[in-house]
């Protein structure tokens, strides 16, 4: 009881953590660009990179799947420009054995994959995005420095550059059918992508994957507040923004949350529309067209918007099943970690506790409060030598 042996697989960064000063000279000179997962492919990062500027540890990492040297090719530019001599292509991942008194599982959550709801067009229609993609667009440190550029413009411009390169290639290879196809695409892109640059008419669709018998029956708890927040921030960035939230219920439970909801309507040009969205289509200018039932007016209506933001559900993380098996943890019916009814952060294994979204959808203050609570439980185990494990 209260005594665990853990084998942790430590991945290689290919950068010496004790030497790297995070100056960024390596990333500046690295010739390899790949889509930046942190920004959902809305911009690129280099093969040697930092997740985000303020990331801790403040050390760069080489992505072995895209680095030319680690893929067996020739490069080495980052090692050459690094003044701290921190790049180490020979670094190997290794296993570390730990002996611990208690374990806290705080593996968080995953954003619901909205391609599972094809009627919303996510993944097909360029201007239908997820809540986290919206966060990245709104962020001053994000791919557009906080400007709400439509994804059709961002991805369209990137595709135009790619097509220009492919056209040169096709011309060289004298591949006429491919050339014709590419030139047609180039014409279409040039005509359509710049028609509307900034998204000002925003639609938020709530309960995407949540409160849905097909996927998650539960409510994801924070998305109503999350969407209202995004609408308020969007208006701060662009005064002409008007937003519509399509909801079943507006769940704004928490200190100051009701007032926040009212503020959205009175100050931030946000309209609350009670009704489920049946389908999102697209007009020829790449504007999403939302078909919904307005339950207060008892009509089926359509609305053309600049951008649609989905409030994706809070799904349990994919790796939780494997982790639970490894630790002997029970999961509840939705695949969140099962907790004891009288001790809400204790799992079925004495000495293993959980907190945050690993145990269920929570907002940030709730996650923080739970984390402190789990820390207290873990400390009890450490300080009593395992005695404090009886429930």
């Amino acid at each position: 009881m209260g005594d665990f042996k853990a084998m942790v697989h430590r991945k290689a960064r290919y950068v010496d953590q004790s030497r790297c000063t995070a100056c960024g000279a390596c990333a500046e000179k690295c010739p390899t660009k790949v889509p930046n997962e942190f920004n959902f492919g809305l911009d690129d990062r280099k093969a040697i990179y930092k997740d985000y500027a303020q990331g801790i540890p403040s050390v760069f990492t080489i992505d072995p799947n895209s680095c030319k040297v680690l893929q067996g090719g020739k490069c080495g530019v980052c090692a050459k420009v690094c003044q701290a001599k921190a790049v180490d292509y020979e670094q190997k991942p290794h296993d570390v054995e730990l002996n611990v008194a208690a374990v806290i599982v705080s593996t968080g959550y995953e954003l619901f994959d909205a391609t599972q709801i094809p009627e919303y067009g996510y993944g097909k229609l360029p201007n239908v995005i997820s809540s986290l993609e919206m966060e990245r667009l709104l962020s001053a440190g994000g791919p557009t420095k906080g400007h709400l550029s439509r994804p059709s413009v961002i991805r369209g411009e990137a595709r135009l550059k790619e097509v220009a390169k492919l056209i040169k290639k096709a011309e060289k290879a004298e591949d006429q059918p491919q050339l014709a196809k590419l030139q047609q695409e180039q014409k279409w892109l040039e005509e359509h992508i710049h028609k509307c640059h900034t998204a000002k008419r925003l639609g938020f669709i709530q309960c995407v994957g949540s409160r849905d018998f097909r996927f998650h029956k539960y409510c994801s708890s924070y998305c109503c507040m999350h969407s209202i927040k995004e609408a308020i921030i969007a208006r701060e960035h662009e005064h002409e923004t008007e937003s519509f939230i399509f909801y079943m219920d507006l769940r704004t439970v928490g200190k100051g949350f009701e007032e926040y909801k009212v503020r959205g309507a009175t100050v931030s040009n946000l309209k609350y529309i009670r009704g489920r969205v049946a389908e999102v289509l697209q007009d020829e200018d790449l504007n999403p067209v939302v078909y919904y039932e307005d339950t207060e007016q008892r009509r089926v209506v359509s609305m053309t918007l600049d951008m649609v933001i989905l409030a994706n559900a809070c799904s349990p993380s994919k790796g939780i099943t494997a982790l639970a098996k490894m630790l002997g943890l029970e999961l509840e019916e939705n695949n969140f970690v099962k907790t004891h009814p009288n001790r809400p952060l204790d799992t079925n294994v004495p000495g293993i506790f959980t907190c945050g979204c690993a145990q269920g959808p929570l907002d940030i203050p709730e996650s923080v409060a739970q984390a402190s609570s789990a820390a207290a439980r873990a400390a009890e185990v450490v300080m009593t030598g395992g005695r404090a494990l009886a429930v």
């Binding site: 665990f4 853990a6 942790v8 991945k11 960064r13 942190f38 930092k50 997740d51 985000y52 303020q54 990331g55 801790i56 540890p57 730990l98 002996n99 611990v100 008194a101 208690a102 374990v103 806290i104 599982v105 705080s106 593996t107 968080g108 959550y109 954003l111 986290l132 966060e135 990245r136 709104l138 962020s139 994000g142 906080g146 507040m225 999350h226 209202i228 927040k229 200190k255 100051g256 949350f257 007032e259 926040y260 982790l323 907190c355 945050g356 979204c357 907002d363 940030i364 996650s367 923080v368 739970q370 984390a371 402190s372 789990a374 820390a375 207290a376 873990a378 400390a379 450490v382 030598g385």
Partner: protein
Amino acid sequence: MASKEVLIIGGGIAGMQAALDLGEMGIKVHLVEKNPSIGGKMAQLDKTFPTNDCTI
């Protein structure tokens, strides 16, 4: 001799807060995170409700 250390799996907001609290108590923590930086989903958020202050 029983260990006096704690393993925290996941370095998002919950994992970080638990690690800080345990650290303040003088307990050694091993914080394991699969991504190159800690911070989790919260690092991707722009501002947080209801105060609209930035998370990072």
